[in-house]
Symmetry: D2
Subunit: 254 residues, 4 copies
């Protein structure tokens, strides 16, 4: 079970809700993924304006937890504002802190992310910061009290998968809170790999919503994450340079 | 469905039967993997000596197809002999040709593999040759009439995964018969990757039998292979160098 | 030419002075490397205690610039203290800021590194901070006024080479000050790769001092860095998935 | 020294002569590379038709050895014919066997390569076959008597570098004749890597002739190959997962 701030989840796949071809496919993909945590961008959603239509009409609010994110924020101050707007909807008290420090790479701003995390923790939020794979930074976020750390595998939407498995494994080893790999996952293989390395969960969006068949890909991701987790628990064989017969021939005679 | 010489299989995971801690774990792992094709080494099994105990007592022969392999053979002649011994048991007409050309790496001998394949096809076997990832060699095996080609991902039992995905994808593109990735798979991630590249199936043994928990790893592999196949069918997003927001901010205003 | 705070250097190889088998080999390796900048750890050297023997007796001080580093510091305050001790020797005004945030990985502490950099810039030092490959953090160091940024390729002394060439290339693209790849270089190939990506220089130590033959490896590194730089300037061919004949056959007839 | 069939060469860079922007750049690149062995395609050159202009007019025949190749041949028979045409010019007795088995990948045909090698050895040629990185196939070529083996790093002209360093290192370990990495090299880093793995030499063409500045790239390749060779001889540090201080702090006190 994935446990975030005392709340338990069976699913280890957190799914984003952006950029699906249409609401119907989004709805089906969400169901197929069996995600229990859905993330969405506060600035894009009208959850704080009840008069407006919004994506929540398509979601079974009782079954899932909402994880609003502060995408679009470039400072801690903006991120905090987005978080408060989200909470004002009465629908959620978790927040994914996302403070972008670079328009080209969409990589996070370490300083503003720390500040926003600290501020939101003081405000009583359950805080999940999106961060680079800087190992010491991840530890500092945890030391502040973050309820999970969310290192990126590679730039958002790039589909490049896990570029630096070493840093990711260092973060996993040092963390007592859940490590949720966030950003850059492109395929089921990437998701399985994150889990095999020992991540507690994976958050992804574009890899599903922009696949040729998002609903089928949602299922693929669900299975891959389960496979990777089981593989982690079952403990893989070590890598060896040379070969080892699966059927040793000692004592054979034909 | 995986189709080999006209016979259909729901499972895309071919499992080896060597090196499990004991028969009970082997049996449970085989069940958990839901494999429909089991491979075993002719020379190690006593299937042609009915008086001897053998691993088949643990296997539900009606549910699975047996794929004996010629491991231990160093020449085409030996491989042919092993194949005939296997068929004499009355239990199988498929044969995995495995002619090793190097004791250190257990990599296959391309010339003897071609010869054995040709000979066994003449003898009416359903022939699945284990081969290197030499692209032209794989095509020659198919041109001879092989019913599948089985390129290695990396040396047998090494757990190194797919070292050369380019060659593997070339083989997949050129082949009209099933491509079954054989040897070197170490983890669910590796298995998912093989399937994402478009392989029709994966054959593995050590990765399951020598995992800390073989039964759990068998399940992980089954799910990974299904995930990889679905991912292949769902068509992943392209890799991009830089980032793309999953929630574009155009026209936003907070 | 490599230009750091207005000072020009022909060599793009910065060499560390730790862990050589003996002073003689150290001296020869330094000469063979043709480095113009040598780095050493303030805490380990007695340059501020004139009565003590120290490694400078083996170095031609007129030919090289000294780059003391603050290795061993765990806070900005310690780093600043080390820097001042180094400057008090009258031998140098450059300082490599190194504030370690993790004993296992020796990865840098981003916050203390920023603080130390800011402080030392105020004190008039030429400041070269060792940093992770966090892209936004590198930009913040440059914005503070750092005279170079020194992202690590992989953990100090690990010899793993450049794990994340994408982040490194982002840092190179955004930086107006020199980017000096620092830490993790294991072989000439790694050094050439850093330079091909567009780095301005490479700092290394263990890869030379702990090679079987440090003097020969020093030469290898010098040539690799020159090769990589020339390769960067000459602009390599693009990578292509399939082949292109180097001798096209159109219109041929034998 | 590189020794092929008793003949010694100082340079470990074999250079192709195809696809330069013009003869002048070709000539300068050849000089800058300091290659002592130049390869060219028999079918493209008119060396057997003295009345025709050809590229040799630009080459100092006394300084270099010519290595004609049989590119364009699809069968052993064609390759043998090309080789004999080349020898008839009186300019060379070495031949690079290149029998392509796939138009898309330009990967070699293992069977026809073996046949052509055997035939040309009988005819007294010094035979250097271009081959895939199939380890057993490389050994068979050597057993036939080939004077070197030339495994491809990746498809011709693809610039993908060494995709399978494991197979390449196995070939290097087993070979008593020189191993010359041929095809796929894209950059100085790739060339250095081949040499670090223990290759005896590198053959390349497109990486130089199609670089933005072929003459500068020729120099880069020369230095990279020297760097890689020195690195191989100097024996690199092992890779380690975690860090090792280059300046250990034991017994320090500030």
């Amino acid at each position: 079970m994935l446990t975030i701030n005392g709340k338990q989840f069976k699913s280890r796949l957190l799914l984003g809700t952006g950029k699906y071809p249409n609401f119907d496919i989004q709805k089906k993909a969400v169901e197929m993924a069996e995600s229990e945590i859905l993330t969405f961008t506060v600035r894009r959603m009208n959850i704080y304006e009840p008069s407006q239509p919004n994506f929540l009409e398509n979601i079974d609010i009782d079954r899932v937890s909402l994880l609003p994110n502060t995408a679009g924020a470039k400072t801690a101050e903006e991120a905090v504002r987005h978080a408060k707007l989200a909470r004002a909807s009465g629908l959620c008290d978790m927040i994914k802190v996302e403070v972008i420090g670079c328009n080209k790479t969409l990589l996070p701003d370490p300083i503003e992310t720390l500040k926003a995390t600290e501020e939101l923790l003081k405000e009583g939020f359950t805080v999940l910061p999106y961060t680079s794979d800087d190992v010491v930074l991840a530890r500092k976020l945890e030391e502040l009290g973050a309820h999970a750390v969310m290192p990126g595998a590679s730039p958002i939407g790039s589909g490049q998968g896990i570029i630096n498995p070493l840093n990711l494994s260092f973060i996993i080893e040092q963390s007592k809170v859940p490590v949720i790999v966030d950003a850059g996952i492109g395929s089921p293989t990437d998701a399985a790999y994150a889990m095999e390395l020992g991540a507690d969960a994976v958050l992804l969006n574009t890899a599903v919503s922009r696949a040729k068949d998002p609903v089928k890909m949602a299922k693929a991701m669900r299975l891959a994450i389960e496979a990777g987790r089981l593989g982690y628990e079952a403990e893989r064989i070590p890598k060896k340079r040379t070969a080892t017969a699966s059927s040793p021939m000692e004592g054979m005679s034909i």
